[in-house]
Symmetry: C2
Subunit: 343 residues, 2 copies
């Protein structure tokens, strides 16, 4: 009934437990004979090393944590996260590290997450969406663990060893606005992202800078990246500021919400309103009309975050990675196409 241990294997294989350990860890100088005997005993018994004993002996955990600032419904509604997580898992696939997902949100949960990490459960960290004043990140300020941020650096102290793997927010915003301008837009409004996140502020600033003297606070409405907030925001903008002929949204989902509201209000896209999203999720291509947007290589960001962390944990010194975005033009800014249901 009691679990088989390395001693059982040693006895079965007729070697010392030191040799068992060497075989299990792929140590270079072990005789064929020993190897065979050990593997035979291992498969026969279904033996698995006790991870705690191993960690205690080596000081390593073979686990990394995926940090998520808050587990709101919004988060779970956001395809970006699903893709980012998939990417990270991809990047970990041929390491044997396990991935522990930790979420903040309430004070208790933030505290618990920080505790878990400080208790030494993991060897490295990937933070998916640091907030501006992120309590988890803040709680780790004096940690020696390597941290990879998927997003811009928040303005608070970080662990000493940290890296950035993200995409070029500012460049993406410019691509969108340049494109709208090239399509003849004169008055471009913006619906921004969740202001708790760092990138929402950066995208807003990029928009403001691009407009320069033409910037008008009435042209901007904050959102939370979700469809509903796009609906609401575009319900307000045109009343407050007439003459809007183009709309740039910080996420595809908000753009789709806005599209819906525009439709209900009888505004024709792209006929009398150009609309752009940001993300290039599946939903963008499926929208009616199909949504022009800024493509970000989310999955690759996730993968790269993982490989960067692996490198850092191996003692290398990887570099930050900022991926370029890419303009994707579809019906919502494409005057030629007249979207119809039939045909």
């Amino acid at each position: 009934m009691s679990r088989t241990t390395i001693n059982d294997i040693a006895a079965l294989a007729g070697v010392s437990k030191g040799t068992v350990s060497r075989v299990l860890n792929g140590h270079p100088r072990v005789s064929e004979r020993s190897q065979e005997a050990v593997w035979q005993a291992v498969t026969q018994t279904g033996y698995r090393a006790n991870v705690h004993a191993r960690s205690l002996a080596t000081g390593r955990n073979n686990a990394i944590a995926l940090l998520i600032a808050a587990a709101s419904e919004q988060l779970f509604n956001d395809p970006t996260f699903a893709e980012l997580i998939e990417g990270v898992r991809d990047g970990l696939l041929d390491s044997d590290l396990s991935l522990v997902i930790l979420m903040g949100g309430s004070e208790i949960e933030d505290h618990r997450t920080v505790s878990y990490i400080k208790a030494g459960h993991v060897d490295g960290l990937i933070h998916l969406n640091p907030f501006i004043d992120d309590p988890i990140t803040a709680g780790l300020a004096d940690s020696a663990l390597p941290l990879v941020l998927c997003g811009p650096r928040p303005p608070i102290p970080l662990p000493r060893r940290n890296w950035l793997v993200t995409m070029d927010d500012v460049g993406g915003v410019r691509q969108a606005l340049d494109h709208l301008a090239s399509r003849g837009a004169r008055t471009i409004a913006m619906i921004g992202g969740d202001p708790r996140g760092v990138s929402a502020g950066i995208r807003f600033q990029a928009y403001r800078d691009w407009l320069g003297p033409n910037f008008d606070p009435d042209l901007f409405e904050p959102g939370d990246y979700g469809t509903g907030s796009g609906n609401v925001a575009f319900g307000r903008l045109p009343d407050r500021r007439p003459g809007i002929d183009a709309l740039f949204c910080a996420s595809d989902r908000m753009a789709i919400g806005a599209l819906e509201t525009a439709y209900r209000r009888g505004r024709h896209v792209p006929g009398d309103l150009l609309v752009m999203g940001f993300d290039d999720h599946q939903i963008a291509a499926q929208a009616d009309p199909p949504l022009s947007t800024i493509h970000q290589p989310i999955r690759e960001i996730g993968r790269t975050a993982a490989s960067t962390l692996l490198a850092a944990m191996a003692g290398e010194t990887p570099s930050d990675k900022i991926f370029p975005t890419q303009l994707v033009v579809r019906g919502s800014t494409w005057p030629q196409s007249t979207p119809t249901d039939s045909h």
Copy 2:
């Protein structure tokens, strides 16, 4: 630089490490004097016990795993999961167990998840959405760990010690269909849920049983719980089977997709089509018209799953819990209300 250990605390407090351990674990018989000295030393140094040493000594992990069959985009689009997870976290809040989230999907990931559990990282399991032929559950068939299923029992061998915490699928379906009938529906179509999951089959069967001799395969269309699949499914149903005057969807999101398609096709809800969802998410109340639906106490299911597991881990023998559902009537089946935008 090296981490403080129990020995450092013992030295600082002037007691043996046995006493330190007793204080830390709240052992009943320790002198005030020792307690104070130890806590003082602990706070002064910021000491935290090494979890691996502790686990090795006690044989316990103080961690449980939350299993998710597959991390598709659909999953992350589903508010049910967010709520369920929140509920579980709620239920764990005043234990000091940590929650490790493990996901399956590909073969590698399923294997990895099973491995992680078998390697002895956790003391208990909560499975959020067992599939009919769930590879993770199957991999754990001979496990001695307690398992709580949030959903119906899949037709494959489970760990010996398992419990169900879920809601009454069949009752919910009947409530919906009875309600539609009471509103005068004659020909009720259904859009079903993700057929990989166990409850989708049960809901379909309940629908079929309810219709009895009136059941017609052409009235049923499978979906995946997501909005898009509601759109698609309701795009097909009326063409294939004229005369449909009511639609029951296995999720609110599919119902909203169907509502959209109905709107575009000029069908008036509830005037010439009654529509019901299932879940009672926020989005149901916000839909246009507001969606009648079947309320399930998701958050409480999550909380109860956690407390049931805690009880099982403490050696008690909790009972299964099947929560009743509740009918929620709104505009989509409420003939009196004529939804309009402007008041």
